[in-house]
């Protein structure tokens, strides 16, 4: 059954050094605030998992929280590279970062296998690519009926799955809508889950394309408005596209990055504090 708690309590109780953790979100509903809190609490040796690691993973990597990344596309969408990620992979700054990379289809298959309680999933993929050469986690199986060779990837079982959603109700059920990505699978693949919601409501108004996670599969709910900033929560906020461009030169320079993280993350205590620390032009006009 769902627990309700503050963000700092939720991270403290659920995310431990060495855990395999996904903060998922496919452009939409990315749990930035949870990443900031993991940085504040100084977690180390995390295996970070995500299809599309973006700025918040750049921050976690740059701040030394991660020793491994499992992913399929690492970039600052529309704006450029993740320079902290690149520094880790290219130059072991701030330390070595092991990587295991897949295709999106492979990662989605891995999440779905884990949500299904299967040890692996199959797809028609990876064939003829060098991805197969650089990981032991893509193998091939033969169809027992046709003999066709198909790629097999292991289930992506998580210690902790963290997502954002628009709403929880007072019973701890969670609802999200819009682009729902692999949010459901992230919760269902995880031993422990944390869901940051825009608001807690008395009763849901059922929503087109709504995904409801019942309270008996949800771990901890945190009310955290704008917890996805600079990503967005459909019908609550707009994506802060400017922030992604703004991040590029900060990320590029490690000293500037560290100063920024100090001022905006380490020196603030909550997501509200983080948002208040930013230049108002980055934040304003993102509320729907």
């Amino acid at each position: 059954m769902t627990k309700f708690s503050t963000l700092s309590e939720a991270i403290e109780a659920n995310v431990h050094d060495g855990d395999r953790v996904a903060l998922e979100g496919f452009t939409h509903l990315i749990p930035f605030a949870a990443g900031h809190e993991i940085i504040r609490q100084g977690r180390r040796n995390l295996t970070l998992v995500r299809m599309t690691p973006d700025i918040i993973y750049d921050q976690l990597i740059g701040m030394g929280c991660a020793s491994k990344l499992i992913f399929s596309w690492a970039g600052n969408p529309g704006a450029g590279s993740l320079h902290r990620f690149r520094d880790a992979v290219e130059r072991e700054i701030p330390g070595p970062l092991a990587i295991e990379e897949h295709s999106h289809a492979g990662m989605a298959t891995r999440y779905a296998a884990s949500a299904s309680g299967l040890p692996f999933g199959i797809l028609r993929g990876y064939a003829g690519t060098d991805l197969v050469e650089v990981t032991d986690n893509v193998r091939f199986v033969s169809c027992p009926f046709t003999g066709e060779s198909l790629a097999a990837v292991p289930a992506l079982d998580l210690d902790v799955g963290i997502i954002c959603a628009q709403q929880a109700d007072r019973q701890g059920n969670v609802m999200l809508w819009g682009i729902t990505g692999v949010q459901k699978e992230t919760v269902l693949s995880a031993k422990r889950s944390i869901v940051l919601v825009e608001e807690i409501v008395e009763h849901f108004v059922p929503h087109v394309n709504g995904v409801v996670l019942p309270n008996w599969v949800v771990g901890t709910v945190v009310e955290c408005p704008s917890g996805s900033f600079p990503s967005y929560a459909q019908d609550y906020s707009e994506r802060a596209n400017d922030f992604y461009a703004y991040w590029e030169p900060i990320s590029r320079d490690r000293d500037r990055f560290l100063a920024w993280m100090g001022e905006h993350v380490l020196m603030t205590e909550t997501n509200a504090g983080f948002l208040a620390s930013l230049d108002s032009h980055l934040v304003e006009s993102t509320r729907a």
Binding site: R124, A127, G128, T129, D130, E148
Partner: protein, 255 residues
């Protein structure tokens, strides 16, 4: 195709590239679209000659009809305007893998004469000179779409003799590897750059220079290509962007 060509309008080579890419899509084509130039080209096609082109974004949006070029593949304008929004596992399994997509657009950091694509690393994988974003949806887009269109700016650093990493398989070494692997799609058919268009030639088993954009010389293209690029017998000049193409494009990009 373009009827109202006017040569006295100026346009950039990036605009020419977007227009050339858009023209590859006939009406009703079902198109798997990534962000950046592919999204621009597909939306340009929809705004001009192909109003019923179907745009599918890997974020799960099927039949998206954005009224502006979305800055990301998961933009709210995509889900709100889509015919259907499905989860990411479904978009890859039921829609892409099942062979329901006609055209996939892919970008490339490096591409070779067989249309094999690298978006993973420049240099050695274990200690790369430049670490690139990685695969994303590309390997299975390259495998399963009926045909693939590659877009990138033309340079000898991008169109190379040998790519450093095969992120997405094109035609291998031209010896029929797609057939041997049983891949459902026909693979890359066009490489569209800011200088011209290369098309895959099934008899010569490699990409040939097929079109040069207005104002570009064949020698310019050959000099900017990292392998000895063959020129097709049918080589011709790309028709210049029309005023309607340019105005539609510029209304998206705010240029």
């Amino acid at each position: 195709m373009p009827s109202d060509v006017v040569q006295d309008v100026t346009w950039t080579s990036d605009e020419m590239m977007a227009v050339a890419a858009a023209r590859e899509l006939s009406d009703g084509t079902v198109c798997f679209v990534g962000i950046g130039l592919p999204s621009t080209a597909a939306n340009l096609a929809r705004a001009t000659h192909a109003p019923h082109v179907v745009l599918i974004y890997e974020s799960g949006c099927i039949g998206a009809k954005p009224d502006r070029i979305p800055p990301s593949i998961g933009d709210g304008v995509l889900s709100v305007s889509a015919d259907a929004v499905v989860g990411v596992p479904e978009i890859f399994a039921y829609w892409l893998q099942a062979g329901r997509i006609d055209v996939g657009f892919l970008g490339a950091a490096q591409v070779d004469r067989w249309g094999n694509i690298n978006t993973t690393v420049v240099g050695n994988y274990q200690s790369p000179a430049v670490r690139l974003p990685g695969a994303g949806g590309a390997p299975e887009i390259a495998a399963s779409c009926d045909r693939v269109i590659i877009t990138l700016r033309h340079s000898a650093r991008g169109l190379v003799e040998k790519i450093d990493f095969i992120t997405s398989l094109g035609h291998g070494d031209g010896s029929g590897v797609r057939e041997r692997l049983g891949l459902p799609g026909r693979g890359p058919q066009a490489i569209i750059t800011d200088l011209g268009v290369l098309r895959y030639d099934d008899s010569q088993h490699q990409f040939l220079l097929s079109e040069v954009h207005p104002g570009v010389g064949v020698d310019d293209v050959l000099a900017a290509t990292g392998w000895p690029l063959l020129v097709a017998d049918s080589l011709h000049e790309t028709p210049a962007p029309t005023t309607s193409e340019l105005s539609a494009l510029r209304s998206f990009t705010g240029a």
